[in-house]
Symmetry: none
Subunit: 417 residues, 2 copies
């Protein structure tokens, strides 16, 4: 089944607002096994809408539009569709009552321009708008397009209308075309996109009707496995099979599925083990603690953190011996270890993570160039330390260092014992 989305509105093309409808509608369609094949934005202007609608109806089984249904002069979607498809119109009494009632409640007169919203195609399915005046409209499309669905632009009008009325309507009208889909998104850390592909692609070729996508994000790769089938049981079995292959190939590099972030996985793991955590940050400057404390419920495991940017703070707050700072410098393995151990002692936690590095752009030396970083993790089995180099811009550097530190903790804390 081919579905196209046409978002209508000047504000979208001027960059004044992001198009939040596209991902929202795409996800909702995903729940009934439909996928958008194309999404287009055009301005509030008849000719552009007509062209885009003509093209979309020539390709898709269902075309969904958002926006341009309101009462003002720049709302031209409904009139454009009526004219383009040569539709008869009628006045819908329920819509008119709704407009009258909402005007009365706001103490405003019902303007003629508002009444225009009650003029609907005679053949239309009318979707009542519980949060505004413009109804949604479903009309038969121009072949090969079966249906054209027009939805209002404001999200608080569109969302309930789509979930409660439009989605069941789509499911009923396209029951013959909707496949059963099963989608698994696995989050991978520690490997680049190419390496993930190398590890899984050939093994996954044995799974039928599987679409594989790799989405590289900073510090992680999303591996998306999408199965389409005619039958829910077959789809689930194939997805289970694909997921099992990927899990075997990638092992503990997979930290989560679906909406789970690395910090979620770490907090869940610590809570499950009744373990606690402190942080001692230099180069990440609070970002590591920020990511952990973004997780609701993190206060059960995260106790406290230090941001020891200056050498003085490393010594006075964490007890890093002055001679280590002098002999090895703040960016060194002995200092990273002393920071983690000092934080663990002072906070009395199971684990303590430390970061010390050169975020740049200034401060690099030949021996310790920009991007050099030491991470240490103090825990019940002693302290481990890793050296990395991430020569990136400041924001990306902090992200990758925090990602690497969180993953170090995840792997260590996940070990049995």
């Amino acid at each position: 089944m081919r579905v196209e989305l046409l978002n209508i509105g000047d504000e979208l093309l001027l960059g004044a607002v992001a198009n939040a409808h596209a991902p929202w509608i795409a996800q909702k369609l995903g729940e009934i096994g439909a996928t958008l094949s194309r999404q287009t934005c055009v301005a509030d202007e008849g000719e552009g809408i007509r062209f885009a609608l003509g093209e979309a109806m020539a390709r898709a089984d269902l075309v969904i539009t958002t926006g341009g249904l309101g009462p003002t002069s720049d709302d031209v979607t409904r009139a454009t569709v009526v004219e383009m498809l040569g539709l008869e119109t009628r006045i819908d009494p329920q819509v008119l009552d709704n407009i009258r009632e909402r005007s009365r409640r706001r103490g405003a007169p019902m303007l003629d321009s508002m009444k225009s919203q009650a003029v609907v195609p005679a053949t239309a399915t009318v979707f009542f708008n519980a949060h505004g005046t413009a109804p949604g409209l479903g009309v038969p499309g121009r072949s090969p397009c079966r249906w054209l669905l027009m939805l209002p632009g404001p999200p608080r009008e569109l969302h309930p209308m789509f979930t409660e009325q439009a989605l069941p309507w789509i499911r009923a009208r396209f029951a013959d075309l909707l496949p059963v889909v099963e989608c698994r998104v696995l989050h991978v850390v520690g490997y680049g996109e190419s390496r993930v592909e190398e590890l899984v692609e050939s093994r996954l070729r044995t799974v039928e009707n599987l679409r594989i996508a790799y989405c590289a994000r900073p510090g992680e790769v999303d591996l998306r496995l999408l199965i389409r089938a005619k039958d829910a049981r077959v789809a689930r079995q194939s997805a289970d099979c694909a997921e099992a292959i990927a899990r075997e190939a990638l092992g503990e590099a997979i930290f989560g599925v679906g909406e789970e972030t690395l910090e979620h996985a770490v907090v869940a793991l610590l809570r499950a083990r009744r373990a606690t955590l402190a942080t001692a940050e230099s180069c990440t400057g609070g970002y590591l603690a920020h990511r952990i404390t973004l997780v609701s419920g993190s206060s059960e495991c995260f106790k406290q953190g230090w941001i020891t940017y200056s050498n003085d703070a490393k010594a006075t707050q964490l007890g890093v011996p002055g001679h280590l700072l002098v002999e090895h410098g703040a960016v060194s393995e002995p200092v990273a270890r002393a920071m983690a151990e000092g934080a663990r002692d002072r906070a009395g936690t199971t684990w303590a993570l430390s970061t010390t590095g050169i975020a740049g752009p200034g401060g690099g030396t030949p021996e310790k160039p920009v991007g050099a970083v030491f991470l240490a993790l103090a825990g019940p089995r002693g302290t481990v330390c890793a050296r990395h180099r991430f020569p990136l811009d400041r924001e990306s550097f902090k992200f990758i260092v925090a990602q690497t530190a969180l993953n170090m903790l995840r792997l260590e804390a996940g070990k049995a014992g």
Copy 2:
């Protein structure tokens, strides 16, 4: 001038991520006087890309694509364009060196799939990717389209490439079609969008050829002043005049221009005054320090920070008296003040900022509901404290609290004396 944007990526049509490129690119184009006439999303799949590109090139003077330039099997944009336009290719040595160097620094082998990114159309303008491996490519389009511009998908690769290389390239190649524009973006904090409009709109009506846009972001409003003229001198004079009017109307609510963030403004102010800062965070969990330390050079003014999530940490690390925690609770004015003063004493800094509040979703009471927060600033003139309520999701809450704290510091530290 007609510009179309073609965003390529399965993840956009599956609703996995919002299309952040479209508004970002639209705004950047706005700065050189160009407006998007259409934006389209298609999947990572040759036939769909070919159709969409064909349509776009038949309508637009410039077609910009994002995504599909990476090394994996689902990245097909470059190959599709090469085949569609019958382009000769060559291997770009600088791109190959960049791929080799990035692999080397990551300690990873250079895979053959990665080398494919160095295969570029012989006629292409190659935009170097300072933050990734896939270069941007500008190639002559199919008439009437003059140019086709291919950009990588990851925002941290696309943003600097677009601003530094692609935008000047577009301006040079379309000088005959672009109007002369002068754009000023003023960042305002402390007022909502409607209040900003009320303060400036009527006064700005005296400026000719001015287009005003208000963009509400979390915790700030961007006031965008766009002048179109036939002559650069006239455009600059009119923009100066509009900016002066806005500055008079908004006063110290304007914290910066262009790309400047609130944390940049704060760090610049502290450095100019040779002042230093410490932070004591509870509910912001490191996010306040993170924003400050994102600014290059912040180590000159930011000395250290504490993340005292538990009551115990507030007492032992910052010296908050136990009776204040018992009598008033951790989320209270006395505790906020004691945290800021304790941090200032211990770090020996000019200023110390503290945050304590209820981020939610759990933990609220009728007296101290979710979103309640106290901010304190200890400084040479004593300690000030403010109470706010931001009933938002966890991430937005942390953002607004940090924004409010930074602005409190900016206004206090900016006072003469």
